[in-house]
Symmetry: C2
Subunit: 106 residues, 2 copies
DNA sequence: TATAAGCGAAACCAATCGGTTGCGCAAATG
DNA sequence: CATTTGCGCAACCGATTGGTTTCGCTTATA
């Protein structure tokens, strides 16, 4: 199934999983040990991350190692690019100024 | 209500609204004209964006002008920072190499 | 070969989501 | 002053979400 990356990273548990897998490849059991919910719940998160290719798998016998795939994160970065210039400090003061201006009456 | 920025930008309609408001401040009616759904549906999106302060409002009579607030987007950028070094091209080849390596047998 | 371990899939459930219609209120307009 | 306009809110609805338990398959181990 095709998945939206933005929707995939919306869940805090999934973001934490991505954080783990960015450091090292891990099996579902190993990942699940870091959370309170069941292995199956984590497995569903893994499935979603896998579907939008934020992570990739490598089977090794009965174990499956999942690892982070940075490429798909580019989509998020690309979208944010249009705003990046806006949050730099030199623009913040202008922003605050505009915020306090009365909108022009028609 | 306190809202998660990641969850707020998960919805494509809300991302589109942010895109509009980054260009210029707009009233709910003006925003809604750009979409197929009702003004009330858009208003709910606006409410969510407002709750996590991705947008801010400025009342002018019976009209409310909403505008983009770049500051809150920093949280997303900050989280992505840890991965940014991973998707640069010089690392992609190493990534592909690691992907094709057999996991070490225990 | 019997048993245990690692994993995904399915069925189920309460909570949340994104949409709708209908309403009420304050501000603008005739 | 009556009417229109701009807006938020509440109630409702089907779909999706994130969790659980149960199950079955494959691979490792005793």
């Amino acid at each position: 199934m095709r998945r939206d990356v933005f929707q995939a990273i919306a869940d805090p548990t999934r973001r934490a999983i991505i954080g783990l897998l960015a450091l090292q490849a891990m099996t579902p059991n190993a990942i699940a040990e870091n959370f309170d919910s069941t292995r199956q719940a984590i497995s569903k998160h893994i499935k979603i991350l896998n579907e939008c290719q934020l992570i990739k798998q490598k089977q090794n016998g009965r174990e499956i190692y999942y690892h982070f795939n940075p490429k798909q994160m580019k989509e998020v970065d690309l979208w944010m690019e249009q705003f990046r210039k806006l949050w730099e400090t030199r623009f913040e003061q202008l922003d605050n100024l505009l915020e306090n201006l009365e909108p022009k009456k028609s």
